[in-house]
Amino acid sequence: MSYFRLRDWLAAPQPIERLALLRIAIPLATLGFLSSRLVHADHWLSPVGFHVPDLGGDWRQPLYLPPMPVGAAWGVAVAIVLSGLCLSAGLATQTAAALFALLVGYTTLADRLEAFTVNKLAPVLTLALLVGPSGARYGVDAWLRRRRDPSAPLPTELEGGVVRFFQLFLCTMYSASGIAKARGDWLTHQVLWTHLHDQYQTQVAWLIMGVLPGWIWWALQWLVLAFEVGAPLWFALPWTRTPALVVGLGMHLMIGLMFGPVVWFALLMGAILLACFTPERWIARLAELVRLGRSP
């Protein structure tokens, strides 16, 4: 692909609804994940809870940040909730995004023990929302602008860069995860089954395991591996994009139902998948339904 074709592809207009869904869903899924930490902010961030001591450069501790006073811990927790909700609602969007990214990034580094994929991803994904015109539609900022100037045209598209980042992020994430699985045990051992037998196991997982025959787990494992390793191809080709969307959503649904706390990761990835690869004609139809629903 030449530089000019790449530039045109990156800049190609995208429906504004894609970015609006990302702005709504990413902070909500992150807050959902963090909720069990936020309600115990003192144990999470202050000396009330257990904290790994300064290990002076240990590879598992990328940066030592000492615990903060109890009051400050609760302040950070409240600020995370407020900035996340404001970002999701599109209120003071840029400020909220900057604050949310900064605070979630800080807390992720501050407690290595409570750092998981969702709160490692959230700061970067939120910074991407910050760079784009995330508050241009479907939020409080957009509503206030509309009240000030009712004659101003409503934006329906945006320059594609930010949405392209999220699309490339998904393909990278799936592909990298698939390669890591192939380099691990997924080609030779039954992996899915073994991970359903610890504290992540949900009631649904246990019921499903009791119903499905053993060979299904091999079929599901191969399906996941093929989907993830081939994701860049499946999402690049127009005729495989929608089937890949359905398979991806199905995979995240199963993860959410069967792996307990991983439900927030499943929601985050499922929402990004929907926002990035829902066919444009479906989005146009949905936007029209929303508009008609608002009409007197």
Binding site: H43, W44, F50, V52, V191, Q203
Partner: protein, 192 residues
Amino acid sequence: MPRLVAIEGAAPWAPLWLRRTAGVAGAIYLLSIWLGAAGCGLPDQVLPRPLRFFTQVAELFPRAAPDAIEWRARGWRCDVGQFEEVDVRPFFPIRRDDKENQFDRAMFFYHHDRPVLEALDAYLVDAQNRARPDQRIGGVMLLSLRVPIPPLGEPGPREHWIATGEYPPSVTRKYWYSTASLARQDRCQAAP
């Protein structure tokens, strides 16, 4: 039926230089995720560790679990002079019933690291003696239980927390840390 609106672009608020810088940073971020998961050491060499940390996100369940691991603690009871299981879940209230709590995570990452295990020892003794003053302890043993995973297609009983003593002999125990006996005595003799 009226059309929605004329197609209109949302104006970016960020200046061009910032969007370009963000684009380059985004490309480095995605490349680092991919290379790291593919086993290339380049991101480790190039990125500062706090940044590298945020790119280590894609290696999700790559290996089969040979067993289900339960992390447990036994406390040295000052009154009876022996080790008994301590239910540590109330002392780690964040996701206390699954492996995302701080005790399980600390044991998972640091079961070979003496300084962390000593810090955990001090935290557990303090927490137990404050919460259950009638069951004071002077030290702990930290251990893992390896619970066999049933064969494919035979799910076994529903997973739930049970006391260490209720596990069958097929569940093996491995001890990773024990408070020195002198330290246990000193703590037990110290005023509550």
